[in-house]
């Protein structure tokens, strides 16, 4: 270990994947049955991988913490899924999708991976359609598309505002088919507590049965993590409240490098925080920006109802600042612009931490019916939460923690720095650079799961066919199980006064205030200090009631929060180390005179992959230089 080998195949960009597939080692069908693969997570990437591997004939064990694989958080993705189909004849192509992603990610992603993601995007759409995903259609019966932020073509396939749910249910159905066939064995209500590494290879996991509290050992020839992102590090985020980084973090502690942890996407359009008890921030799909116009009053502190503010007194600041893309600028740009207006005192609502997203013009032009057709369920959801009818008055929105571009470092084969351990979907770092474009997470997750991993994993497994079924009585399993139990005991025996959630909330506040949309050295250093202090307090003053040998949600939560303290420190360290602004990572010290991000390609065109060096020791930084052969690194402009 220590050296990052990205294993990018030779040849021209557009041929790399084809060439790779043509030369990759394969496993013969008779041997596949004997090979066991663990997949952790059942979202688009996890369920996709588990079913595709099952279809190939491997013996798959699939785990999730929810009661059913159908509840993985991919379910909540709203707006759509991209593909380079060019159904609109608007100049789209695999290359343009690739280019948009590279540019959207502010030139901090690996060219070859991104091109491949764009390349398999069409297969993903075909597969979902064939699985019965009811994508929106045109009157002629063909699939409809819409446009999304950061691009100038219409390539986003959608199922109203519930595209993630529909795609996930597609994955769930293909997973069910493999469960029925006996190729996949499903383990719901299990939480991964540790990765088991034997002779340097990933050979299994330790899980906790969330109903009985039992600690279980599971062996396999390879382990695939499809465990999502760590957006809940901010406590309030658009993620499911139980989403967590523990599986990835445990793998990191066992040797998997963690890449670009500070690249966290703050989504520009979420329902603002309404009260102090709030447990989550609900996303309002970016697709709303297709028809909604974002504005704040031109006068500071103007508290008139939005509809009473005349046109000439409204500042459509995105249209003003970015005439070419207007309301459809990428997420990082839109989020920062909202924060800038609110910080300057132009925000609306009681807290002043919100901006208007107005559909008045769209409704006047297209009619209420058309808007209802496109966004009906989002308007309903907004009304349910806030009690406000957005057909009559603007929605109020504010940015919220959303997606993490950072994650476990993987090579071209999606393998981490631990041989036999793979990371797919949001849990890896590979495709979105420093900022993800809308509707590309479903695309990447499903592409990784269904079409990339099943093709690359055989390259590793071909050498494993002679390895017998992994026995779980090996000392490594014993040790990992013992460590997991000890940690549970340690958490249970603190017996302080406060709940895990209350610590989580405080951690989230620190992260949001100092490591959110905009960061500076002083703030980051302060945050590092505060997180350390809070972590100490946590380990002294946490209370978990109930028993560890039973269903215990406080214990689950405590374990996740404990890992977040460590990840938070790494995230801050990475943010401190990256002395430039790029994508979602905005360092106030590095900006242009008009407040745009100022990249430093000479010094920072690399992936920061962090190696765990042991408890309490500083992480070791490894750099993977990013070479751009097919796109020119330019200043990202949406003006």
């Amino acid at each position: 270990m220590g050296k990052l080998i990205s294993k990018i195949p030779d040849g021209p960009l557009a041929e790399k994947w084809t060439r790779y597939k043509a030369s990759v080692k394969l496993v013969n069908p008779a041997n596949k049955k004997k090979i066991e693969i663990i997949v952790v997570g059942t979202g688009l990437s996890g369920a996709g991988a588990a079913s595709a591997l099952g279809e190939l004939g491997y013996s798959v064990k699939n785990f999730c913490y929810q009661d059913s694989p159908r509840r993985a958080h991919s379910v909540a993705a709203q707006g759509g899924i991209n593909a380079a189909k060019n159904y609109q004849n608007d100049g789209d192509s695999t290359f343009r999708l690739f280019y948009d992603m590279i540019k959207g990610g502010d030139y901090r992603a690996r060219e070859a991976n991104v091109y491949r993601a764009a390349e398999v995007s069409n297969q993903v759409i075909d597969h979902f359609t064939a699985l019965g995903v009811p994508f929106a259609r045109d009157y002629g019966g063909t699939l409809d598309t819409r446009s999304f932020g950061g691009v100038q073509v219409s390539r986003t396939f959608y199922a109203k505002g519930q595209t993630g749910q529909q795609c996930l249910l597609g994955c769930y159905s293909s997973l069910n088919r493999q469960i029925k066939k006996g190729n996949v064995k499903m383990f719901p209500r299990r939480e991964m507590l540790d990765l088991v590494v034997i002779d340097g290879r990933a050979r299994g996991i330790i899980t906790r049965n969330l109903i009985t509290g039992e600690i279980e050992r599971h062996g396999a020839h390879a382990v695939v993590l499809a465990t999502g992102g760590y957006g809940t590090i901010y406590y309030l985020s658009t993620l499911a409240v139980n989403s967590n980084a523990s599986a990835a973090w445990k793998a990191h502690r066992k040797g998997a490098f963690f890449a670009n942890p500070s690249f966290v996407q703050i989504h520009p359009t979420s329902v603002p925080q309404l009260n102090e008890f709030q447990s989550k921030l609900t996303l309002m799909s970016e697709s709303l920006r297709n028809d909604g116009r974002i504005w704040v009053p031109k006068t500071k502190g103007d508290k008139r109802p939005a509809n009473d503010i005349p046109e000439e007194e409204r500042d459509y600041y995105l249209e003003r600042r970015y005439p070419a893309f207007g309301n459809l600028v990428p997420r990082d740009v839109a989020s920062r612009a909202a924060k800038e207006r609110c910080d300057a005192g132009y925000g609306v609502g009681e807290s002043g931490l919100a901006v208007n997203l107005d559909f008045r013009d769209a409704i006047n032009k297209q009619g209420k019916k058309a808007i209802e057709n496109k966004y009906g369920n989002l308007f309903d959801m907004y009304k349910t939460i806030t009690g406000i009818d957005s057909y009559d008055e603007p929605m109020r929105i504010y940015p919220a923690g959303h997606y993490t571009m950072g994650g476990l470092w993987v090579d071209y084969e999606l393998m981490t720095t631990i041989p036999g351990l793979y990371a797919i979907g949001e849990s890896n770092f590979s495709d979105h650079g420093a900022n993800r474009l809308g509707a590309s997470s479903l695309m990447q997750a499903a592409g990784d799961g269904y079409f990339i991993l099943p093709n690359t994993i055989s390259n590793y497994l071909a050498d494993q066919i002679s390895v017998a079924k992994i026995a779980t009585d090996k000392p490594e399993f014993e040790e990992a199980e013992k460590a997991a139990k000890e940690r549970i005991n340690k958490l249970m025996s603190i017996k302080g006064k406060h709940t895990a959630s209350s610590f989580h909330k405080r951690l989230g506040k620190i992260m949001w205030d100092y490591v959110g949309m905009s960061r500076n050295e002083t703030g980051l250093k302060k945050a590092l200090e505060l997180v350390r202090e809070l972590k100490d307090e946590f380990w002294k003053d946490l209370n978990i009631s109930g028993s560890a040998a039973d269903l215990n949600m406080e214990l689950e939560k405590a374990g996740r929060v404990a890992d977040y303290f460590d990840l938070a420190q790494l995230l801050i360290t990475d943010a401190l180390d990256r002395k430039e602004s790029c994508g979602a990572h905005f360092r106030e010290e590095y900006q242009t005179p008009d407040g745009e991000a100022l990249r430093n390609d000479d010094e920072f065109a690399y992936v920061a992959a962090w190696e765990y060096a042991g408890e309490g020791k500083p992480h070791i930084l490894h750099k993977e230089e990013l070479k751009f052969e097919y796109v020119e690194m330019k200043v990202r402009s949406y003006k």
Partner: protein, 244 residues
């Protein structure tokens, strides 16, 4: 506002349960029902008592994890919302709220308000899919579907699998759930080839798991947080008869 909560507490599947009474003071009308329970649990943990266990995850009404029976209604008295989006502004000071788990033989209680809904997964495993391997799909636009039908398929497919239909039905029938999936596939050209096997397998599994029979009372439709329509059940019936 101040509320009295009568919450079903049950240590585990085998234990006998009973209602415990909790007083909740200063509940903000801006809280969601689950945030109100979060506040209760915080208090309980700080007193070193076991918190109330309940399933929850996305908290935006789409994952289908949450679900409790509140004052005679699954997901509470407000139509078309899940428990996580049920706002406390619908309750008034002094109210007593009965909070119970879903009650159905195929949904045994695991702990407190958590029930085992794996029966739903089993029905889907029996046939809720289209048999196609990754890589075998034809070009998307080679399968044309009428917009009207695709939209209706979507309306059926938005089921979140929460189980409110079973909880509401006086017969604990799972027909709305099964019919939503069957309808999605019945309305689309994809997967018609295995339509007969699908409906037979799913209905057979549904019966085997011990769900009750549909008597067309319409409680499921009234309580479904995603407003899935009873017409789906008629379509399921048609699909089933056509399968023989």
């Amino acid at each position: 506002m101040n509320l009295t909560l009568k919450i079903w507490r049950q240590k585990n599947a085998g234990a006998k349960g009973n209602f415990a009474t909790y007083r909740m003071e200063d509940v903000s009308p801006e809280m969601s029902f689950l945030e109100m329970l979060d506040a209760l649990n915080k208090k309980l943990v700080e007193e070193d008592k076991e918190p109330v266990a309940f399933d929850h995850d996305c908290r935006e009404g789409i994952c289908g994890s949450c679900g409790m029976y509140i004052n005679g209604h699954p997901h509470g008295p407000v139509p078309a919302v899940t428990t996580c989006l049920l706002s406390m502004r619908y309750f008034s000071d002094g109210d007593t709220l009965w909070v119970e788990p879903w009650r159905a033989k195929p949904f045994p209680v695991i702990k407190d308000l958590i029930v085992d809904r794996s029966a739903f997964d089993k029905i889907q495993i029996a046939g809720g899919f289209i048999s196609i391997n990754a890589g075998a799909a034809p070009e998307s636009n080679s399968i044309l579907a009428q917009k009207k039908n695709a939209d209706s398929a979507f309306d059926s497919s938005i089921c979140i699998g929460c189980g409110a239909c079973v909880a509401a039905c006086k017969n604990a029938s799972a027909m709305l759930f099964v019919s939503a999936k069957i309808s999605q596939f019945a309305l689309l050209p994809q997967g018609r080839i295995e339509a007969k096997e699908r409906v037979r397998a799913m209905v057979e599994k549904m019966d085997e798991l011990g769900f009750g029979n549909c008597s067309n009372t319409g409680a499921c439709e009234a309580e479904c947080p995603k407003e899935i329509k009873l017409t789906n059940i008629a379509r399921l019936n048609r699909e089933y008869y056509k399968a023989y």
